[in-house]
């Protein structure tokens, strides 16, 4: 082995601290193909280039798909009803998140505009724009 151990622009723990404390969605951008993602890695999962740089992801975007979860895992047992959603962020890149209190399918229709909501709770939280909740 020669050289330094490969490093990512940020760690998974720093991603979590980012949305919990720093109130930002940290991600990666591939300098080779332009792909943005929140998912940690040392190389781009689209093109394989080891050229991932730090990128702050947009705080708002559109729901791509999602579901209303009725049977949660243990960590979310006190959060039902809620929605789990995939969000296409405005500047590119998708992130998984949850919307507290969502209980009707219309609330998570594809194309619904949502905004990142900093919270002390687990995970990336979103709220529907203009609803305040």
């Amino acid at each position: 082995m020669t050289g330094d151990a490969p490093m990512a622009a940020h760690s998974i723990a720093e991603f979590v601290q980012g949305y919990e404390n720093g109130r930002t969605l940290r991600g990666f951008r591939c300098r080779a193909c332009g792909t943005r993602t929140a998912t940690w890695g040392l190389a781009c999962s689209k093109c394989g280039a080891r050229e991932l740089e730090e990128a702050e992801l947009s705080e708002s975007g559109l729901i791509v798909a999602g579901t209303l979860v009725a049977v949660p895992s243990e960590e979310f047992v006190n959060e039902v009803p809620y929605a789990y959603v995939l969000v296409e962020l405005d500047g590119g890149g998708r992130v998984s998140g949850w919307i507290p209190g969502a209980s009707r399918e219309e609330e998570i229709a594809p194309g619904t505009r949502v905004r990142f909501r900093p919270s002390y709770k687990s995970g990336v939280q979103f709220e529907r724009e203009g609803t305040g909740g």
Binding site: T39, T67, L86, S96, W98
Partner: protein, 384 residues
């Protein structure tokens, strides 16, 4: 490469195990070895598949199983590939036998979760998601497949009855399978009345948490004189991977690892999808069966759900799908599921599938997915 056969197969009844995973796996492994008509010492390598053994405070199952079979000197390894663990183990066994590193190999998959409640089992399953990026934000396994189901519904006109037809069919098949967790039929009314787990998926769209064990013995044709059973000739053993987190998939109405593994498998077997007589596919949720049938190339995009409703995939239909009852109703003991699919093919071919026989058993395909498609195995079996 040497021609490789599946020469013996066994399964216990899926459901709740009253014994440890170790005991169940050893028992079923011995049944498969006896079914093959060989001695345990003929096994050159044991491949164990198990995901949640640590919840029983027991790891390193391979040597324990081999000890119990009286062959402690035989090497073993545990293969973990989430829900596709035992088809991954079968692939490893195939590679060893076809490549000449072992004349015969044991594949034994086992899972025991019955000692956990639903909530903690849901939590353990969620560890096979991309945890910090999915489960931490509220994803559950039903939730991730529900997200795929909603993407499918958005793209293709789909009625609840189309997903329901998968559940009704697979329960009807499982009702005739003594290995099945649920041996009862359900009606469409029962399906439609069942509670939502993660919209649009209802309770009857979801496979159960099952305990169970399944084992197969594979061997090189040249080392088997007269086989005791009609062997399955392994025509293809293919695996593929894909990006795990749904947030990094460009498409949500298809599993790319299934498409890739299928392409490899059909190329290995030099066959087209129309040559397949029946299939066991990975239906952890009803939507998963629909996606599988399209990704494997059996039906055009957006049509598999309708074909199911029209009876095409019934035991007497054009392409029988999951005659065992599938994960949906036969059950889903995670580490045993892929091997269990091969047990079903073996029983169909050997006339041991009383009451749920499919009309043609010349060529069969098994399809086993790890989690939401981070891994996938496709095997194709033919006759001598």
């Amino acid at each position: 490469m040497r021609e490789t056969w599946v020469v013996g197969a066994a399964s216990n009844r899926y459901g709740k195990l009253a014994e440890t995973a170790r005991e169940a796996a050893t028992r079923v492994a011995l049944q498969a070895i006896e079914d093959a008509g060989i001695e345990p010492k003929a096994i050159g390598h044991t491949f164990v598949a198990n995901c949640f053994g640590l919840t029983e405070h027991q790891g390193h199952l391979g040597p324990l199983i081999n000890n119990g079979l009286g062959i402690p000197e035989v090497p073993s390894v545990t293969v973990e590939s989430a829900c596709s663990s035992s088809s991954a183990a079968l692939h490893e066994a195939f590679v060893h036998v076809a490549g000449g590193f072992a004349d015969a190999a044991l594949v034994v998959g086992v899972e025991r979760l019955g000692h956990l409640d639903t909530m903690s089992a849901t939590g353990y399953f969620a560890y096979a998601t991309d945890h910090p990026f999915e489960a931490r934000s509220g994803a559950t396994f039903p939730g991730l497949y529900a997200t795929l189901a909603n993407a499918y519904r958005t793209r293709y006109p789909t009625t609840p009855e189309m997903f329901g037809a998968v559940a009704v069919k697979n329960h009807a098949n499982a009702a005739r399978n003594p290995h099945a967790h649920f041996q009862k039929e359900i009606t469409m009314e029962t399906y439609l009345a069942s509670p939502i787990v993660a919209s649009p998926l209802r309770l009857y769209d979801c496979c159960p948490f099952s305990d169970g064990a399944a084992a197969v013995v594979v061997a090189a044709r040249e080392t088997i004189g007269t086989p005791r059973n009609e062997p399955l000739v392994v025509r293809a053993s293919a695996r593929a991977g894909a990006v795990t987190a749904l947030q990094d998939r460009s498409e949500l109405t298809s599993l790319p690892s299934t498409r890739r593994a299928a392409e490899l498998a059909f190329r290995q077997a030099k066959l087209e999808p129309k040559a397949i007589d029946f299939v066991e596919v990975h239906d952890c949720f009803t939507i998963a069966e629909v996606l599988a049938l399209e990704d494997l190339g059996f039906f055009p995009r957006g049509t598999a759900a309708r074909e199911g409703l029209e009876g095409t995939t019934a035991r007497d239909g054009r392409l029988p799908v999951n005659p065992s009852g599938g994960l949906k109703a036969k059950g889903h003991p995670v580490g045993a599921t892929g091997a269990g699919q091969v047990v079903e093919v073996f029983e169909q071919v050997n006339g041991r599938a009383g009451g749920r026989e499919v009309p043609r058993t010349g060529t069969a395909l098994t399809h086993n997915v790890g989690a939401t498609g981070g891994s996938c195995s496709v095997h194709i079996f033919g006759r001598r």
